[in-house]
């Protein structure tokens, strides 16, 4: 880097040096060059901003000045070890470490180090990328996921209540009607007072159970569903982000063909996200052991409805399972109550939509189709509707 030498090599030294200067000056990443005794030779503009020192202040000083204490202590050892053994710990690899600003603030950086042999000896070039923003994004995503899990849990409780109420209603209705029929039969004959009394007691107990269900249902229905205009592509993207962040799906091809210009849907976004995440997770699980690992998400408008389709290349749904697939507690999956699909369908139906399965969908495995009403300009008026219509 000595000026005389540069000049002697190049015919137009000023141009090449100016070019280097401008490259270093405009680089977004911090660039530091040090010699084999860790002395700073070069410190670019981005570094000045990152670390709070001017080039003049740090030139010739040990590079440790840019590190928190624990790295600074070890650095001499690292450098000597490399110079003696040639064993590369960071050169050509790069890793996440922490830097220290002049004011003592530590911050995460990604450091990659290269080496160059020069007439003045070995020099090391460090490229420093500020990770604070990326860390902040990662933290926001993690927070969003935690929040979603939380909301999901609360709303799953609601939905589970609704789903169970619905499932219990059928046999309970049958029990009550049978008992009432039996009571009429014995009552007509005027034969057995004791039997009538027993049947009466049975009816009362069945009514008690039905009141519990009605209370449970009232509790669940008390909450007015939130309906907002939601962009489908954005909703799907968020779901894919949330699902893929928490699980290893690097070897699974996820094909998202949801286009941006679809009409909005009128839904409670958290609840619909819950359905989509559930379906996408199921799809990912289904293809994990499959020879072809592909999961597809698409959306299209049909009639007044939006059809969101999640398909996978897994084993499909066995025909004998299809009739009870959406029933509560019928799931064959290990480690679950088998409520996921029951709840998902219940949410979809509460939105005026539905959830259906194609046991052998397009990707070769199963496909689940979530149908939701498209947002219409008159929705506000309808939602406000006549009071008699609100149960």
């Amino acid at each position: 880097m000595r000026e005389e030498q540069t000049r002697s090599v190049s015919a137009v030294p000023s141009v090449s040096e100016a070019r280097l200067e401008s490259v270093l000056g405009t680089a977004v990443d911090g660039i530091v060059v040090m010699d084999d005794r860790a002395r700073i030779l070069l410190f670019n503009k981005a570094c000045e901003t990152l670390f709070g020192y001017t080039t003049e202040e740090v030139r010739g000083r040990n590079v440790k000045v840019l590190m928190p204490a624990e790295y600074a202590h070890a650095h001499d050892g690292y450098l000597n070890n490399y110079l003696e053994t040639g064993e590369k710990r960071i050169i050509g690899i790069g890793r996440e470490v922490r830097g220290m600003h002049r004011d003592g603030t530590e911050f995460p950086i990604e450091l990659s180090v290269g080496e160059a042999a020069t007439p003045e000896g070995r020099q090391f070039i460090g490229i420093i990328r500020d990770l604070r923003q990326r860390k902040a994004v990662e933290r926001r995503l993690a927070e969003a996921q935690a929040q979603l899990v939380n909301v999901t849990r609360i709303s799953a409780l609601d939905e589970m209540g609704a789903a169970i109420a619905h499932e219990l209603n059928q046999p309970l209705t049958a029990i009550m009607l049978y008992l009432q029929a039996a009571k009429r039969k014995v009552g007509d004959d005027h034969r057995d007072e004791k039997l009538i009394e027993i049947v009466d007691k049975g009816v009362r107990e069945a009514e008690r159970a039905s009141q519990i269900i009605q209370r449970m249902r009232r509790f669940v229905e008390k909450r007015d569903p939130e309906r907002r205009s939601v962009n489908v592509a954005r909703l799907v993207n968020e779901c894919l982000d949330l699902v893929t962040m928490g699980t290893d799906c690097s070897n699974i091809e996820i094909v998202n063909s949801v286009v941006d210009n679809l009409p909005d849907i009128a839904v409670d976004p958290v609840q619909i996200q819950q359905i989509l995440i559930n379906l996408i997770r199921n799809a990912l699980d289904a293809v994990r052991q499959a020879p072809v690992k592909r999961v597809g998400v698409s959306a299209a408008v049909s009639g007044g409805d939006m059809l969101i389709r999640i398909s996978d290349s897994g084993g499909g749904v066995p025909p004998e399972v299809v009739p009870t697939l959406f029933r509560a507690f019928s799931g064959a999956k290990k480690g679950g109550l088998g409520l996921g699909l029951t709840i998902s369908r219940s949410i979809a139906q509460n939105h005026g939509g539905d959830l259906a399965v194609e046991p052998n969908g397009g990707e070769g495995g199963a496909a689940f189709v979530l149908r939701l009403p498209v947002d219409t300009p008159t929705r506000e008026g309808q939602a406000a509707g006549p009071p008699g219509r609100k149960g």
Partner: protein
Amino acid sequence: MTIHIVEDDPGVGDSLALLLGEIGHEVEVYPDAESFFENAPPGPQDILIVDLGLPGLSGVQLIRWVARLAAPPRVIAITGQSRRAIAELFGDDLQPVLLRKPLTEEALVALL
């Protein structure tokens, strides 16, 4: 007068038929809308009890179809879903008489 019951849950369909039969009505039960259509359409003196959560052709579609008959029967919809969800299913033009499950004899007889 015949009471036609379209209900996919065999327990509910059978018990309903049994009770209404016990009360003295003539009753027909169909497991889905499709098998209901295979028979002669109901007359104006008949009553049609429809479960809204039918497989295949939905209860809502069945009720819409029946409402367009020249002399439609009386229709009672039975469902476990909330009134609000039902209201959204039908829209403003058509709101059938609605009974929520679990059904009681009292509520049912009051509508017959």
